[in-house]
Each structure stands twice: as C-alpha cells, then as structure tokens.
Amino acid sequence: MGEWRYWFAAQRGTLLAIAIFVVMFLIYILNHPAGFTPNVVQTASNKAVLLAFVAMAQTLVVITAGIDLSIGMIFLLTNCLASWLVLGTPTETAFGVVVVLCAGLLCGALNGAIVIYGRLQPIVATIATGAIFYGLALLLRPFPGGSVNEDLADFMTGKFFGVIPASAVVLAAVVLVVWVPFSRSTLGRGAYAAGSSDVAAYMSGVPIRRSKFLAYSLAGLLASIGGLFLTFFTYTGEAAFASGNAYTLFSIAAVVLGGVSLFGGKGSAIGAIFGALAFRTIGDLLFVFDFDPLWQPLFQGVILLIAVSLGAFALFRVRNRLEWFL
C-alpha cells in the first residue's frame, strides 16, 4: 500500500496524460463514422507519431531544465537529408538511414556542446542553431522534392499482421531502446539531478556535463527519427519553415501536457508521448464533430488550455499557501 503511494506520486504526471489521451481518444472513436477499426487506429497513429518523436526529444532537454527551440528544425533538416539518401537498394537505404540518424545526433551534440561548454542560455543557443539547421535544410531542398524508398516507407506506415500500426510499434521500440535505458542509466539520473538542482548535483559529484551532453545528443537523434517518418509519410523532403516552428512549439505543449516540468528534473518521455497523442487527438476531435476548419486553431488552443489546467487542479486543494510556489 505504502509503496504504491510513492509510485503513484512519482508517475502522476504521466498517468494524468494517459488518462487525458484515453478520454479524448474514446470520444473520438465513439463519434467516428467508421468506429474502432485498424484503419482508423493506423491513421491516428501515423498522424501522431511525428509529434510523439519530437516531444520525446524535447523531454530529454527539458528534464535538464533546458529547452531546445531547434528541435523542429532538426526534424526538417533530417527530412530533407532523408529525401536524398534513403533510396535505392536495401543496402543503400540502410546506409541512408544511418547517415540521417547520425546527422540528427550530431545536431543535438552541437546544441549540447554550445549550451554546456559554451555556457550559453539554451533558449538563445538553440534559436541560433535552429536557424543554422533550417539554412542547411533549405540548401538541401530549395524546393520541395526528392523521394524515398517506397517499400520501406509503406512498410513503416502500414500495419503489422493487418492490425497493429507499424509506426506505433516503432515508437514503442524506440522507447524501449532509447528512453528506458537512458532514464535508468547513471547519466540519465544525472540529467534529472542537474535539472532539479545543479548546485546539489555538482556537490554530489554527479557528472553533470556528460549527462546534459547525452540528453541533448539523444534529443537530436529522436528528432531525426521523426524526420525519417516525415519522409516516409510524404515521400519528399521540404524545408517548410512554418512547419518546423510549429513542431517546436507543439513539442513544448505536448511535454507540458505530458506532465514534464519546464523547471526540469521531473517527468518522463512516456508522459510526453501521451501528451503528443492527446494534442493530436484535439485536432481529430474537431474533425469528427464537423467543425468549420476556420475554427480549428481557436478550439485547439482552448482545449489545450483546459488540458494543461487539469494539472493545476491540485493547487485548489492546497491548504498552506506557500505550497503554491513549490
């Protein structure tokens, strides 16, 4: 009993995000003309998985009490790169995928190096590197174009056994291969520690710099997985400035929705993924209820505000006003 209480307290943000998503998704499915079919789930998964990857990337940086405003641009840059490289024979395609992932990792590592060793504020440093990444993307693809290995793309956006959406499986696999080991490693612990209190972490002999560097680098890697999926969906590369910025901002919204504290040190990528899924479901909800598309952004904003406020309900129960500020 006592044990469960501590576990529940630690996972509250994540559980709340899952609950919000489940409720929204149920409303969506129950009102969908086709109902709960593999195709509907596949479409939903494919729509949400891009933001889920980018939000996961953002989580890693936010945990260290930083923020990555270049994340959407890494996503675009790797999309443009993939539209040149992820082509041809299976070997060439595999090589292309590896190069794209390495490019993402490198972008993240650059951010990390500037923030940690250059001691610049993350917000400013990543605005600058984001502009650089966008510039490179534009050089790669001045006009939308290119192509991708369509067999791979169709496989990744299709269904396993005709039921399970492949994109959701890949997302789960990435969680298992990247997030779980990270969060349970010494360096992952260091990232949380640095985000929660960097002075205490330093005094405790935590490897702060390596931890943060790893977090930023892995964020770049995760964004590039998102970039690959974008290529799989669109079959092209496009340096779309507005889209890159939108992904950056939505990733922050998804992270907050997922119970990750922007002050650092608290939250999980799994929460952020469900935050991203919930965020995407907002758009779908408006679709099934046949809203005029003109109203979409406004309603999306209102629903987002309500969802984020749910996390603040705990404040109404506070009896000691000093706890408002903790």
Binding site: Y6, Y192, A193, V206, G265, N320, R321
Partner: protein, 515 residues
Amino acid sequence: MSVQTFFRMEGISKRYGGVRALENASLDVSAGRIHAILGENGAGKSTLIKVMAGVVAPDEGRMTLDGKEISFGSPAAANDAGIVCVFQELSLIPDLSVADNIAISNPPTRFGMIDRAAQRRIAEEALRRAGAEDVHPLALVKDLPLSRRQMVEIAKALARKPRILILDEATSALTASDVAKVFAVLKRLRSEGLALLYISHRMNEIAELADDCSVFRNGRHVATYAAGSKTDNEVVELMIGREYSSVFPPKPVRTDSAAPPLLECRHLTWTDRLNDISMTIRAGEVVGLGGLDGQGQRELLLAFFGVLRGLKGEILVEGKPMSISSPAAARDGRIGMALIPEDRKTEGLMLPMTVRENLSFASLDHLSRGGVIDRKLEERKIEEMVRLLAIKTAGLDIPVGSLSGGNQQKVVIAKWLMRGPRIILLNDPTRGIDVGTKQEIYQLLRKLSDAGAAILFYSTDYDELIGCCDRVLVLYDGAVKRELVGDEINEHALIASALNIGDGQSVSAMEAAHG
C-alpha cells in the same frame, strides 16, 4: 594515546575578490578522532572545508594525504580520496527520491542500468546506519521536512564509505532525539577509525563530542587544544577575540497592564497540525515557542501570517477580530505584522539580487509614491537599517548571497524592521549563525519589545528560550502543552514538557543527549 595524522593542510590561503577568506591556515586530521572546528561566521571555516572537499581551489598552500601531496579538481575527486562532506547548504536533489539521492554519486548498475533493487538495499542500509529508519527510501526529498532531509544527507555521506567525514552544521535543523542518534552514530564511526571534522555553533554539542578543537578567526588558525582543556568563556574569547560579556540582555520586570493583548488567538485549529491553540501576547512581551521540532510551531506562525487556508478559530489584534488572508494583509498598517522566516535562503531573501533591493522589498509600498520608488527615502531608510543592525557588507549593490550567514540573517530582519512592525514573529532566527551575531539579535529583540513590540519567537535552542523569553509556550502535537513563566523557564521543564512526559529518568536521558 596514539594519534596518526594522515591528512594535513599547510599554508592554505584563499581570497575572494579583495577579501581574504583564509590566510596561511593549517589543520591536521587524525584517524579515530573527532576534531571540532570553531569560529564565528566569516572566520574561514566554510572556506577551509570547501578546500578540503574540492569545492574551491586554494590560491596557495598544500594538502597531503598519507604523506602524498594531493589536490582536488572537483567534489567528486575529493570523494574518491575518501573525504566526504555533509554541507550546511543541503546537497540533496529535491525531485529525486531518497534512495536515488543516497546512491547519486555511484549508483549500483546492472547491464549499464541502475539496479533499483540494489540501490534500495544500499539506501535502507545507509538510513539504518544513520538512525533514520523512519524515512521511506522512495519518498521524494522535496516532500520531507528539513530535519528528515538532514538525516538523509548524513545517510548519503555514510553510504560513500568516507575516511574523513566533515559535518558542517549538520545538526542545526535536527530534533533533540535525532541529535542523540546522530551522536551515537558519530561515536561509533570514531571507534571504527574514521576521522571526523565537526563544525557547530552549539558549544554543548562540541563539549560532548570532540576530542580536539581548532579555533579560526578572520581566516587564520588561532589555536588547537584538547577538548575540555579550556572553559567555554575562554573558547568564546578565542573565537571573537574580545571579552565576552553576558550573552542575553536582562529581562525587564513585568507589570500587568489592562490594555488588551496586542495579538491573541482563540481555538486555532488547522488540519491535524494545529489543535485548539489559544494564546495572547502583550505589547513589550517576548513569548517563546518551544517543544520538539515539527510540533506545529511553524504552522502557528504561518497561521498568524495569513498563509494557511481553512483555518478555524479566531485571531485578534488589539482585541479586535481580524481576518488575515495573506502576508500582504498581515503586514498591512492596521495589523503591522512581520515574519522572519525559517529558511532565509528561500523564504527570506532573493539571493542573486543586491543587498539594497532585498532590504527594501518588504516596504516598497512605504517607499514609493504613485508607484515610483523614492530613491532618497529608500537610501535614508536603508542606511538607518544597516547602522541599526551593523550589517557588514562590502557595499549595498552586491548580491546578498555573497554575505556571510549571520549578515544575511540581519538583512532578513532589517527588511522587516524597515516597516516598523508592532508584531514580530520569528521562526528559529539564529540557526546556523555565529555567537556574535546571535548576541546582537538577542539585544535587538529586547530593544524592540521595550519599544512596545509584541514578539513571538520559535527556537530549537533551549538556551535561547531561557535567556530571551518572558514566557514560553511548549507545543506538542499541535497543541499548547504547557506555559512556562519567568523562573519556571529552565532546561528541565522545557525538555520534560517538550517530550510530554513527567518522569525524571527519561528527562535526564534527553538532557544527556542535548548536552
């Protein structure tokens, strides 16, 4: 007596900007001994320890461990050499669990991932060794009260298997029963051959624990002597370098007045922390709050100051019922209340901001006209306060965080005195500050009460309650257990009522623990 010195510091100097924090300091550390370091705040004790623990690099001097010269680039390097420090500023990470914190510097891993079961075992073992079995390893550090956090901090240090364990004011927030446990642990460690460095402003703790004492003053090492070879007065004279007169100002003789009490509460109840408390304070009176830590003293002060929601009962000021809904309302002219908080670093000061800004924060409404701050008036008020409290600072425009602990505390007090409050609530205001500053604060309190202020004063230090207060209310489990007046206020009565017991045997056990 075989004394093996295995760690030695010689000729250590360190300056911060223009200020010499340490000058040609030396220290020998021996296995199996408890070595107390004494000195006022700003005497260089903290810097000395930071040098040992690898937090700051000295400008000059050398350190040897087992005869080999060493230097530390980081706290981690010092830890690896077996030097572990329990810092006064807690080094715990608030958002991580107790077990995570205890194992933070070297967590057990399996396949490159942290082995949570093994970590849990290490944490439980360390908590048991520190005598803190009541702390759950999965609790988040930020949810623990200060005294529990300090126990976790000690457990964390023990988990690193140190050769030299440094305790810097490590017992300042502990309850008397915790202190007893920690002392038993420290004595066991000494018998196991550890070297312990113990820094405390509590003389009775040092008398009980220490084998050797070293005194520092103005960054210099003044004297080292075997514990017990000097009287308390001699030690204090070494520390402050001047004659030591009576610490506590005389208490005035009380005359009962017919005026209604300045502050009164009736049947104050809040959740399970405050339980039907009724009390009064008259103008010119210093009333103490005693009892073990965490018996509702802090909540009572917060209740008066308008911080608690859902409070039942009545608060009266000058006999008139008041509803105080926020600190802003409490400090308002009609009520004129001030609260000197427990944790000056988070609740009292904005550390990176300047001394000037911090001093005027609580009185901006008095200092401004139409929303614009009157610089001349501000300047005058600040000067007055700096003079009144004798705040030692290199200037008004330096960050308040760079002042010594005692001077920081003076800034917190000054910022509230600037409003000229009639009711002053203090939450353990002398914790972790030096003898000289303490004495100044006692005198200030008496001066304020003589000028007609009503003072409610919570302290974990029994000597303070005895020396300063006209009356003491002892709290137990959120209720007033006993009221002590005048000569009734003595250590025996305070401890007996704090423990809510009557029999003499346990009392003397507690007295032994407390010194």
